[in-house]
């Protein structure tokens, strides 16, 4: 029942304790202003993104001196060192090659498999579910698995390739010309299903009418794929490429587990190099510089890609 007050009627409190709590809450929490609602997100951003980012910039201008157990100001020395470091450029080259190759293979394979699985026939739902299995395996475990599969003495994969005459006696991961490919196979095996799932989601969300019209007009399967499926799937493909591309650029697990960057520096990626400088040799400043450089490369490439593909967020 409502109560009469001097200013009019107001609802009778149904839950007195809750209303009391509301009354005790700070005023700004009850306002319609956006700030209170954004505060948790801003706090998260500040703690987990902005602070580490600015700290990284600060760190890149310092270097840890082991004998003094302290950081010392070095200004731009780390950046000068970075651009003169041939090993860093080698690592960048390996990273770009790794990213490009894996991306292309995963894109083509992912699209092919997605088209094959885009069906409502019995059993296809199960197959689509099975595809997610590789994604739940930690990459380090996948790396260990392929390390054993590609072992020169005990590896099943090596044995099969040798029997087929594709591979000689040289170990896959011990040879400069095949080691990177050996690592990429693990990545492709694990992450192609991710592409398949994204493409499948896009394919199954497409309207059927244009395809029915095309069939009535006598279009071939290739023409339908090229003139309908691909253009209509364009944004989905662009998103998939962007996400996987950034992920591939940061590759660390497979390389660390399978080759440690070797033989020599044949599989040394930028992430592995930054990690090694930071954690193995405690060159915190230089490690931070390499990380910032990686970030810059990703930002530039990603923005150029977004502009070219006219992606809108």
């Amino acid at each position: 029942m409502n109560q009469r007050t001097e200013t009019g009627w107001k609802p009778k409190p149904q839950h007195p304790s809750r209303d009391a709590a509301v009354l005790r809450a700070p005023k700004f929490m009850l306002s319609d202003h956006a700030l209170p609602w954004l505060t948790p997100l801003l706090a998260m951003l500040l703690v987990f993104a902005l602070y580490p980012f600015f700290y990284n910039i600060w760190l890149s201008m310092h270097e840890f001196v082991p004998r003094k157990r302290a950081l010392e100001w070095v200004g731009g020395d780390n950046w000068v060192k970075l651009f003169a470091d041939t090993r860093m450029w080698g690592a960048l080259g390996v990273t770009l090659l790794y990213t490009a190759f894996c991306l292309i293979v995963q894109l083509v394979l992912g699209m092919g498999i997605a088209l094959l699985l885009d069906s409502d026939d019995p059993g296809f739902g199960f197959l689509r579910g099975v595809l997610t299995l590789t994604l739940v395996i930690p990459p380090a475990i996948t790396g260990m698995m392929f390390l054993l599969l590609e072992d020169a003495q005990f590896g099943v994969f090596t044995y099969a390739l040798q029997q087929l005459g594709i591979l000689g006696t040289s170990p896959i991961l011990g040879n400069s010309s095949t080691a990177l490919l050996g690592v990429m196979i693990a990545d492709i095996w694990q992450w192609t299903p991710f592409m398949v799932l994204i493409f499948l989601a896009g394919l199954r969300a497409m309207p059927t009418e244009p395809f029915e019209s095309a069939l009535i007009d006598g279009a071939s399967s290739w023409q339908i794929f090229r003139r309908l499926t691909l253009p209509m799937l364009g944004k989905v493909i662009a998103i998939a490429v962007l996400i996987r591309g950034i992920d591939l650029f940061r590759t660390f697990d497979y390389v660390y587990v399978m080759t440690s960057g070797g033989p020599g520096t044949a599989t040394y990626t930028l992430s592995l190099y930054a990690w090694q400088q930071t954690f193995s040799f405690i060159k915190w400043g230089y490690g931070a510089t390499i990380s910032l450089f990686s970030l810059l490369v990703i930002l530039i490439v990603a923005n150029v890609f977004v502009a070219l593909t006219k992606l809108r967020w």
């Binding site: 082991p66 170990p171 020599g264 520096t265 954690f279």
Partner: protein, 502 residues
């Protein structure tokens, strides 16, 4: 707990049954068994029962009711009273002593002292990272440091000298601890840097010759006493048994410390050294190139996979019976002798390393001591940043005491003890027979430590040089990126000298 005889037996049967069926874990089982006066030997009773609950590496102590030295444990109990409830942390490589302590012996220390022990067992390179971060931050996350001999110079300023601690804290000085019992060569090789005792000698993996007795007998080969003979034996095995069985094996993964270990062995065996007295890299001199030539010939008799293997792969290759001989870590030997894990149990024999081709070099830099028996020992040190230094010091003494080292060795650890007296202990000698945890290679280990041991140089940059610069370039060489040994050695010389000179 008080039991009469019958109840006690019934209770033992009950907990053993539960352990075998997996209803209680090893630790609970051992704690309960210890209260009944059975100690680790109780595991023996469990292991004789049908399979089900047995696990871990303990396999040889089952016949013995080992109980730790009561005097030592009583002293620990008393000395640790002020520190009961504290926790000490150690990050260590997965080595036999650490595994034995972590999986079997730790509860005895915890029971006696009330001090909790947390041990992180990690790959060697991760231990280095943890240590480096700990000393860099000065947080004292770890109370104890596992310090590989190649890192001594890097951490000498971050630890408490155990000799000083022993003398300055008399109430915490374990009676009969006997510092002089540690093998003198080890104290010099793995514990001392620039007059500071960095830690207490903890373990001593060392290169010894290990060979397949059956193949040697079949082919009429004799135990190699020279490097030429070692190579000839490898070639003979390869010719007669290949490709199923290779002449020898290796640990040659690019960019890994194990590759550097193999290299130093061949380098020292040819009269070379890593550094000259002037502190310059000398691996590219005549002796260094002779070593590379020898290594190349030897590699022709190794499995193709050696360039992707660290010590794990090398150990596996012998274990699987595909290599006829190895000049490598002696701690492999008890593993290879384990009939449950190995195809070569009882077939392996040990010998001291072959003599060098020319006299070992004496003029070196940074305290390097050439010797064919490359050692990879480590010491256990108390961190000066630790907030529980006294508790950590008690643990360090217990872990390196004569009694605990006997346990470590007899429980199947297989590493060479760092104390003289352990080699002579009857319990250790009793395991001188074929089987898991054998100690039949220890006489060879002892002689190698005394007469053939080689130690790497001590300099702050050595961790980077030995874990990256040298093994990365050697990896590139074996992958075909360099045209000649001279080219790769000159490249290493330039990089090493640049890093050392800052």
């Amino acid at each position: 707990m008080r039991f009469n005889h019958n109840n006690r037996k019934r209770y033992i049967a009950s907990i053993t049954d539960q352990f075998v069926k997996g209803k209680i874990d090893r630790r609970t089982f051992m704690r309960t068994a210890a209260k009944l006066g059975l100690g680790v030997g109780a595991l023996g009773a469990a292991s004789m029962l049908p399979p089900g609950g047995r696990g871990g590496f303990i396999s040889e102590a089952r016949a013995q009711d080992i109980v730790q030295d009561p005097d030592m444990m009583a002293w620990l109990k008393e000395a640790a009273k002020p520190f009961a409830g504290q926790t000490v942390r150690l990050a260590t490589e997965s080595t036999p002593p650490s595994n034995a302590i972590n999986s079997a012996l730790k509860p005895f220390f915890e029971e006696a002292t009330g001090i909790k022990v947390e041990i992180e067992v990690l790959p060697l390179e991760q231990v280095l990272q943890k240590l480096t971060l700990d000393v860099a931050s000065g947080l004292g996350t770890y109370d104890l440091y596992y310090i590989d001999q190649s890192w001594m110079a890097s951490f000498a300023g971050d630890v408490i000298d155990p000799r000083e601690k022993y003398e300055s804290s008399s109430d915490l000085a374990m009676p009969n601890y006997n510092m002089d019992d540690f093998l003198p060569a080890l104290v010099d090789g793995i514990s001392m840097y620039d007059g500071i005792m960095v830690g207490v000698p903890y373990d001593i993996p060392i290169f010894i010759t290990m060979y397949r007795k059956d193949i040697y007998e079949e082919l009429g080969l004799s135990v190699p006493t020279t490097m030429e003979q070692y190579l000839a034996n490898a070639q003979a095995i390869q010719a007669a048994k290949g490709p199923d069985i290779y002449g020898t094996t290796g640990q040659m993964k690019s960019g890994h410390y194990s590759l550097e270990c193999d290299w130093t062995c061949w380098l020292w065996a040819h009269g070379g050294s890593i550094f000259g007295p002037d502190g310059k890299f000398t691996g590219n001199d005549e002796a260094g190139l002779a070593a590379m030539d020898y290594w190349n010939k030897l590699k022709e008799n190794m499995p193709e996979g050696v360039t992707t293997w660290t010590w794990d792969g090398q150990g596996q290759s012998v274990l699987q019976g595909i290599a006829g001989q190895a000049l490598s870590w002696g701690e492999f030997f008890p593993w290879w002798d384990d009939p449950e894990a190995s195809k070569v149990s009882g077939l392996m024999e040990a010998a001291v390393p072959p003599a060098p081709t020319t006299a070992l070099r004496t003029e070196t830099g940074f305290g390097e001591i050439p010797g064919v028996g490359h050692q990879g020992g480590s010491s256990l040190a108390v961190s000066k940043y630790s907030k529980n230094q006294d508790a950590a010091w008690l643990f360090a003494q217990w872990a390196t005491s004569m009694d605990t080292q006997v346990y470590i060795t007899t429980l199947g650890g297989g590493t060479g003890p760092t104390r003289e007296s352990v080699y002579d202990d009857e319990r250790v000698k009793a395991n001188n027979r074929v089987g898991a945890g054998t100690t039949r290679h220890l006489d060879v280990v002892r002689e190698t430590i005394a007469s053939h041991m080689g130690s790497e140089p001590d300099l702050p940059e050595w961790a980077e040089l030995s874990n990256d610069t040298i093994p990365v370039e050697l990896g590139r060489y074996f992958a075909g990126d360099y045209d000649s040994p001279k080219e790769v050695m000159d490249a290493i010389a330039k990089k090493v000298d640049d890093i050392v000179s800052g």
